[in-house]
């Protein structure tokens, strides 16, 4: 009976994250409300930039496409946002990591599944907002979402959760070596959001920068799901993009494993 028990263990962690998200839903809604200001500012900016010719194409985006991108990218970036890195850091710093080490459970698994549980609830909340946003965009700008695009969007979102988790897992583990890394998290987050296309589409940064950033894992956390939903990814390149994202998932997971095993050796050696 080892298998169902094993699954049950992590399902339970998922449930814990799930309940925590329900408990702290206000926090999430506030974060979503925080998306309003940047959307308004950027839209105003695009209105000025596009001027009298909304049909013209800037960086490969018409005005309605650009506004749709701005709104959806903001929502996606709020949705994939992590927070567990502070918990990991606190566990390392205070030594409460001990309580996981003496139990028959993997800390990585515990954090990953709590995070996913958390995200399932937020996605449900966000789904409502997203439908609303798409409906308004459709009314105002004639923006249309196909069923296929929606399915791909959900898939890419799941991938984005795991990728973003892995990125911040690696960053959080720096806590084994440095004690005060709260600022590091925020600095890294801003750079990553920019590199993910969370503020502007990567194309705006110019062909050189965007071709480099296209190969990095970050764009899969925001730009890729957003472009799938807005139908901007050519069907023939969807599979390839998923392939790159999965490649990065494997690389980051392996990197995280290496950092973890070194960090935990240090933790056990130094004590707390």
């Amino acid at each position: 009976m080892a298998e169902p028990h094993f699954a049950g263990k992590y399902a339970k962690c998922l449930g814990t994250g799930f309940r925590a998200a329900l408990e702290y839903r206000v926090n999430f809604f506030l974060s979503v409300a925080g998306a309003i200001a940047p959307v308004v500012i950027q839209t105003a900016l695009w209105i000025v930039i596009y001027g009298d010719d909304p049909a013209s194409s800037l960086f490969g985006f018409t005005f309605p496409q650009m506004v749709a991108y701005t709104v959806i990218a903001q929502l996606v970036s709020r949705l994939v946002r992590t927070g567990f890195e502070y918990d990991v850091n606190a566990d390392i710093k205070s030594g409460s990591l001990d309580r996981y080490l003496v139990k028959p459970i993997g800390y990585f698994g515990f954090r990953l599944f709590s995070f996913i549980g958390d995200k399932i609830v937020q996605t449900a909340f966000m789904g409502v907002l997203l439908v609303l946003a798409v409906w308004i965009l459709a009314m105002a700008l004639g923006f249309v979402v196909s069923a296929g695009a929606f399915v791909l969007f959900v898939l890419s979102l799941a991938l984005a959760f795991v990728l973003n988790f892995l990125v911040f897992w690696c960053v959080a583990l720096v806590g084994f070596w440095l004690t005060e890394i709260g600022y590091l998290f925020e600095a890294v987050r801003i750079v990553i959001i920019a590199a993910s296309g969370g503020i502007l589409p990567l194309a705006v940064l110019g062909p050189d920068a965007s071709s480099v950033l296209t190969l990095l894992p970050f764009r899969f956390t925001i730009q890729f799901p957003t472009e799938l939903l807005t139908g901007r990814i050519p069907p023939e390149s969807v599979a390839g993009s998923f392939g790159i994202a999965i490649f990065w998932m494997v690389v980051l997971a392996a990197l995280g494993q290496v950092i973890w095993s070194r960090g935990i050796r240090r933790f056990a050696a130094v004590g707390s």
């Binding site: 080892a2 028990h5 094993f6 049950g8 263990k9 399902a11 339970k12 962690c13 814990t16 309940r19 925590a20 408990e23 205070s94 030594g95 409460s96 001990d98 309580r99 080490l101 003496v102 139990k103 028959p104 459970i105 050796r265 056990a268 050696a269 004590g271």
Partner: protein
Amino acid sequence: MAIIEVDSLSRNFTYYEKAEGLSGSFRNLFARKTMVKKAVNEVSFEIDEGETVGFLGPNGAGKTTTLKMLSGIMHPSSGEARVMGFVPWQRKKEFRKQISIVMGQRSQLWPDLPALESFDLNRAIYEIDHKEYRTTLDELVSLFGIAEQLPVQVRRLSLGERMKMEIIAALLHRPRVLFLDEPTIGLDLISQGAIRDLLKALKGRFGTTVMLTSHYLSDIEDLCERIILINHGESVYDGPLSGVNETLANRKTVRLIFSEELAEARLSAIPGFRSHDTNSAVFDVDRSEVRAFSRRMLDELPVIDLTIEDVPLEEGIARLYRGEASNG
């Protein structure tokens, strides 16, 4: 059969000495002097299955460090240990499933969850069968009398209630070895007594081997047949609790109360003098000399009361800490 075997276990901590002042801080940037503290030094002992052993020592003696090594949280600097045949710090899953550690100063529960949910999470983590879980939980909850606090978020519980929950959480998977690190620390006397009574009630019920550290002698007196005393990282005594006093049994404490205040100089000149108050004084006297000493005091000083006592256990242990009495 020994369930815990510890052989010359040592643990050093390195730290840096910082010279005083700004110039010191500046110099430290370039050359730091590395210092080594021996937290645990060549400690060896064996504990049999089912034993309850008290692990005593003053702050910083190395008690917690030893428990951390035995529960697998910390690597030793040298030496060996086996718990149920496992090397603890390899943290094999089978090992982790059979031990538990409760630290008075650090919660094992999730503060935002009600205790009951933490228990349920533990049930999943330890892969405990539902029926078995129910039976153990019911038994512990009725024993501890805290059914009403089960649905309350852990961070809203009082320290005493939380400690009960910690102990329940640690016992749900019926560990073979339980490490209790200062389970009564910070608790008021009544809660201390309650926790002690519970641990006593648990003793023998689950057949768990318990290693308990505490500052409070009463914890140890009530629960442990055997104690290991550790000071400055070294084991200074290992044997039955009664033995602590036997090693000191050749000494008696003589307490005198006087009808008037006496000058300290006069009292401290008497051999065996330990302390004095306005009109009382305490002396340490060899057992064979107690009669002669008492007679002399009654003759020479305005004594109105005289008591002769065994050296209290606390005192005996304090002396062992100071290395005044030898093992045996």
